[in-house]
Amino acid sequence: MRFLGLETKTLTAGLILSLGTLAAANSQAADTYTVGVEASFPPWAYVEAGEYKGIAIDAMKKIAENEGLEIEFKDLPFPSLIPALSAEKIDILATGLTVTEERSKVIDFTVPWWETNDVIVVPEDSDLNVFTAVCCGANVGVQGGSSQKAWMEENVLDSDIDVNLKSYDSYVTAISDMLNGRLTAVDVDDTSAQEYINEGRPVKIAGKIFIRAPLALAVSKGDPQGLLPKLNQGIVALADSGQWATIVHDYIPGVTVPPVPGNMPAFVDTYAKPVAGLPDLGN
């Protein structure tokens, strides 16, 4: 029965461990803000050799530095980011997050720092165009929870166009699946697509969908931490100083940097005058 003693010890160790973890949850400094990112979303945010990288990561670090904020990053899968912000598990959401009306109801957006259009990506050797790739029983992949998915549902599926929409946990997986022949095309933002093609992958852009979708940072609804003014000022200052363009060009050489702040749709309440931290702006 010696093993029973052993069993008890293992058990105790396990419990202490669990309790230790629970306690650790509360140990982070009170004025360090947690920045939620989807770290499998290049070029905006990803992990390489164990380090966070990407446009959103570098820009967020710079903004924090300029505005005197203490931040730490936390990686969460895309569908989990907005719930995390609502539950105040994270304080700031910084990824290639598209501003949509639906999202603006549950989180508060900063001013846009980027603008994307969507593209339809097909295999290199395909002769489909943007119309033939999205019709006639085609299998089209999108990233689950993304604005592309919402756009496809609204404009393609609801118009009774014969397309099978397939959701993936990331557009990278979707493109892999396309290259394996399971998808006809993938709907993705132009920035990501360009990056992917720059890597020398055997895909090409079949056509562009001009949606002028703004990307922005976000905070919890009602901005309980009062972060919105600092972030708005930080974004504009970053762009004005030229640091923004440098960061962007580090990741996507040669790309045209849209003006900051970009297109501010009227349906976003935080874009109504006066915009937090930027009283001269707004609709």
Binding site: M1, E7, G14, S18, T21, A25, N26, S40, S86, K89
Partner: protein
């Protein structure tokens, strides 16, 4: 840089992810062990009243019936209003509570397969109920339980990979980083990951078989 160089360079991070997965596994199994054993003992030897038995039954049903992703969300986001819980702690609780429901069944049938005469003999010689369970029934039941428990071990390893949905950066998530930062190579990376999971599973199973063999006494030989 080709993908093999990247995997080699990032191997320490894969190992770190594996470490997180193994710690999560150990913690959830330990929590499940305590909960499972408690439920089983209350069901078999606790008060027969409905106030005790019904909640136990309900617990089992709920934790076995609700998909684990939903449980992870409930524990991570749902508890956020009550107290600040880390991703890792939420994963231990969600997975551990569910494992407790499964383990209670394993232990229940293990205790039930101990002949009734063992309890009678223990009580007849003056052992209290608790002593009889501790010294006579538990050592026998645990021997019956090791086999099914090995299955539970194997299936929970796989479940740890789901903890990434609430932000636990375990092995699968680390693999995802490599895949997305190199934009592809899904198959190669996941083959490496599968191998790592396989090694842990194999090591765990071997350990449990070793324990089973060590505890084997005549009359309790390893059953096929």
């Amino acid at each position: 840089m080709n993908i093999y160089d990247v995997i080699l360079r990032d191997f320490p991070f894969l190992l770190k992810g594996l470490g997180i997965a193994v710690i999560l596994l150990a913690a959830l199994l330990a929590l499940g062990f305590v909960i499972g054993l408690t439920i089983c003992l209350l069901q078999l030897y606790g008060p027969r009243t409905r106030f005790v038995q019904w909640p136990l039954k309900a617990y089992e049903r709920v934790f076995r019936g609700v998909p684990i992703i939903i449980m992870l969300f409930i524990f991570y986001y749902g508890l956020a209003g009550v107290f600040d819980i880390s991703s890792f702690a939420a994963a231990i609780l969600a997975l551990g509570f569910r494992s407790g429901a499964y383990q209670s069944q394993i232990f229940r049938s293990a205790f039930q397969s101990v002949p009734a005469g063992q309890m009678t003999a223990a009580r007849a010689h003056g052992m209290s109920l608790a002593q009889a369970i501790r010294w006579i029934l538990f050592p026998q039941a645990i021997r019956h339980a090791i086999g099914p428990w090995t299955n539970e071990f194997s299936s929970e390893i796989k479940e740890t990979s789901l903890a990434y949905v609430i932000g636990v950066v375990e092995l699968t998530r680390q693999a995802h980083y490599i895949i997305t930062s190199t934009q592809g190579n899904t198959l190669t990376v996941f083959a490496v990951v599968a191998l790592l999971y396989f090694i842990v599973n194999k090591a765990g199973n071997s350990g449990l078989y070793w324990l089973e063999a060590r505890l084997a006494v005549p009359g309790f030989e390893k059953r096929q």
